[in-house]
């Protein structure tokens, strides 16, 4: 546990210092989105990496948070902070109710069911034009504010969003090392064995699903207040898949791996702009390369790669270095 505390403090310090050299750069804006995506990836990792339950509909929870915040603050002028809490509770509650029938399913069927509700909510965002503004979006969402401090530029939003993300990471690290975390891993390996050990498998799965959805909703609310505009294209099936990719590329069951995955997938398109029209091909090729050569995700792949390179460079034990 002590190691975890040290790790977290180092990570938090790096996050807090990152904006200093960036100042007015557009990269600061990209890092704001890295923060939101990290929050989402960590939330999905609880479900996918720890409990071993796939969800191809997490963009819907993200979208629900964003739309609840957007509609209630832009159209009805309610207190944004209150709405963030309300959105988290509502979406978490909805996921709790949905979770009972859905999480009975396993494997491909679970993937299908979550995919289904993801698409249903996407259609709802698109079609309820009177409420959501439909495909052309919902403008005029206010920035968050505390007293006279308004979060209206990248730097302020960076600290706001990363503050929430760091708190969530702390919560998840704690959870992972608790009795619940161990129970989740037991479910991941064998549901029957977990049940024999006295774990209430069904309830725990639904609870973690609800928690994951609630965190996603908070991410959605923060996204809406940062962008001040939302439209359904940001909450479609593609984004759900992107989230799953972040978690897998980063490393299943590793909280910091989720950060690496989210950072990579958010920053990569920016770095690949040099390829102009061929950036999508390079993007795809890199992802394929990483899944083949780093099946354990970046969190394990990067140290292995460094070890491998080190041994090659020094000429010691060059033959048997592992890249897995």
């Amino acid at each position: 546990m002590k190691r975890e505390v040290v790790k977290f403090i180092i990570f938090a310090a790096l996050v807090m210092l990152a904006p200093l050299p960036l100042k007015q750069s557009y990269l600061l804006n990209v890092l704001v989105f890295v923060g939101i995506n990290t929050l989402l990836a960590v939330a999905l990792n609880l479900l996918l990496g720890f409990a071993g339950q796939i969800s191809l509909g997490h963009a819907a929870f993200f979208g629900m948070g964003a739309y609840l915040s957007g509609i209630l603050t832009a159209n009805f002028g309610l207190n944004p902070w209150l709405i963030i809490v309300l959105a988290a509770v509502t979406v978490g509650g909805l996921a709790f109710v949905l979770g009972f029938p859905i999480l009975k399913l396993k494997g491909h069927y679970l993937a299908m069911a979550t995919l289904g509700f993801g698409i249903i909510f996407y259609i709802v965002f698109n079609e309820t034009i009177g409420l959501t503004g439909g495909p052309s979006g919902l403008p005029g969402i206010p920035n968050l504010a505390i007293g006279s401090l308004t979060f209206d530029n990248d730097l302020k939003n960076y600290y706001l969003i990363w503050g929430v993300t760091l708190l969530t990471i702390l919560l998840c690290v704690n959870l992972a090392h608790s009795r619940i975390g161990r129970a989740l891993r037991a479910i991941h390996d064998s549901e029957v064995a977990a049940r024999v050990m006295g774990v209430n498998v069904r309830l725990l799965k639904v609870q973690i699903f609800a928690l994951s959805a609630a965190i996603s909703a908070v991410a959605g609310s923060l996204y809406a207040h940062t962008m001040t505009f939302i439209s359904p294209t940001s909450f479609g099936f593609n984004f759900s898949v992107e989230l799953v990719t972040m978690v897998i590329i980063g490393g299943l069951g590793s909280i910091y791996g989720s950060f690496l995955g989210a950072a990579l997938l958010t920053l990569l398109p920016e770095l690949l702009r040099a390829f102009r029209d061929y950036d999508i091909i390079a993007y795809g090729a890199l992802l394929v390369f990483m899944t083949i050569f780093m099946p354990g995700g970046l969190v394990r792949g990067i140290p292995d790669l460094m070890l491998f390179l080190w041994s090659r460079l020094t000429g010691k034990r060059g033959g048997n270095a592992q890249t897995g």
């Binding site: 007015q24 750069s25 557009y26 804006n29 990209v30 989105f33 259609i123 698109n126 079609e127 034009i129 439909g134 495909p135 052309s136 979006g137 403008p139 209206d152 990248d154 996204y223 962008m227 001040t228 505009f229 939302i230 439209s231 359904p232 294209t233 940001s234 398109p269 920016e270 702009r273 102009r276 029209d277 950036d279 999508i280």
Partner: protein, 380 residues
């Protein structure tokens, strides 16, 4: 395949060209955001091609008052988040003086808060009425309002004494904006909407909706969508033996639609920008020179027909060129000069911007065309 290779060669040339001019003198940097990939690529691709073409042509002719242009294009994929990230990069990293695009109303609405705050002029290529109403200081647009296209169809229906219509619209931003306008303007023209159906952008069979329409009192069918949906509707209508006159939107005003719908396209009427019928326009038409120039250049550069959507980017670049020619060189002065653009005969129409109007087009921006013998016929 050949087309792709040619396009790649074009881009390579353009890259080299821009690189050379960068060495020569400080080029004027213009940013562009287009949905080149993703569901709105039917807009983004021709827009990107056109913008690159116009900039290459301007530079070939010696730039604007000796200064070269540099165009920096980013793909938004039709996603609001990516559009905002790309706009941030254009403004803070590339330090452009103005931005052209985005292609869709959603993307445009997403970047508006940013350009207003950073004070960079934006010339959107999307049609949504929300973009310029209410007026935003830094935001202009070149695409015709959907309301103008709807009015054009309704005027024709009134002349033909048709008062009961069925509408069938696609459930994306293009269709929902059309649907809103069709419903909003019906009363003004004394038109009654008998049935109001929608279809999904990827649907491959619309017989169910058409059967319902066949059983209604409607005297005409208006369909609002972009390829390939409307082609499916045209074919299904023919298979069902639906006798109603069929009206489409400007979303299908390209040869591609006739290709997709085949014989079923015969007799369909639609509003379109003048670009489709450039050759057929009388010599007195003020836009004719611009239109023929655009069509000829596009054919030469890409070996394809330039369409209505590419025209939005043509207008945007040329409006910027006009502003820079009149001495503007910073975002603030470009904005001021853009606002003073009067009587500019572009592809979409005759633009007259003013401090009160950042859309700048009158209702004659659209013409009605009918499809006859797999070609366009100007409806008088």
């Amino acid at each position: 395949m050949l087309g792709k290779t040619l396009a790649a060669a074009q881009i390579a040339l353009l890259v080299l060209g821009v690189g050379n001019s960068a060495l020569a003198a400080q080029p004027i940097k213009i940013g562009a955001l287009f949905a080149v990939t993703g569901p709105a690529s039917f807009l983004g691709e021709p827009e990107r091609n056109t913008a690159q073409m116009v900039v290459a042509e301007i530079n070939r002719a010696g730039g604007i008052k000796g200064q070269m242009l540099e165009l920096i294009v980013y793909d938004t994929q039709g996603d609001a988040t990516k559009a905002v990230q790309a706009a941030n990069r254009l403004i803070k990293e590339d330090r452009v003086v103005a931005i052209i695009g985005p292609s869709t109303t959603g993307d445009t609405m997403a970047v508006i808060p940013l350009v207003e705050k950073e004070q960079i002029p934006l010339i959107s290529c999307a049609a949504g009425i929300k973009i310029t109403e209410p007026l935003k200081k830094w935001v202009f647009k070149t695409a015709q309002n959907d309301s103008l296209a709807v009015a054009k169809i309704y005027e024709r229906l009134v002349r033909q004494k048709i008062s009961r219509v069925a509408i069938l619209t696609v459930s994306d931003s293009f269709g929902s904006s059309g649907r809103e306008q069709l419903k909003a303007q019906a009363a003004r023209f004394g038109i009654q909407i008998e049935t109001d159906d929608t279809y999904g952008p990827k649907d491959t069979d619309m017989t169910a909706q058409l059967t319902r329409i066949r059983g209604s009192q409607a005297q005409a069918l208006i369909c609002w969508g972009t390829n390939p949906g409307p082609a499916v509707i045209a074919r299904n209508a023919k298979q069902l033996g639906l006798k109603l006159p069929l009206y489409m939107s400007h979303g299908v005003s390209s040869k591609k639609f006739i290709e997709l719908a085949g014989d079923a396209a015969e007799g369909i009427t639609l509003p379109s920008g003048r670009v489709l019928v450039a050759e057929l326009l009388p010599e007195s038409d003020r836009q004719k020179k611009s239109l023929l120039g655009f069509v000829k250049d596009y054919q030469r550069h890409y070996n394809k027909e330039g369409d209505h959507f590419g025209g939005h980017a043509w207008d945007a670049v040329m409006l910027l060129k006009g502003a820079i020619e009149r001495g503007a060189d910073t975002p603030a002065t470009i904005r001021e000069q853009l606002e003073k653009s009067r009587g500019f005969a572009g592809i979409g129409g005759i633009f007259n911007f003013s401090p009160q109007d950042h859309a700048g087009l009158a209702s004659d921006a659209f013409v009605l065309v009918e499809i006859k013998n797999r070609d366009w016929l100007l409806v008088k």
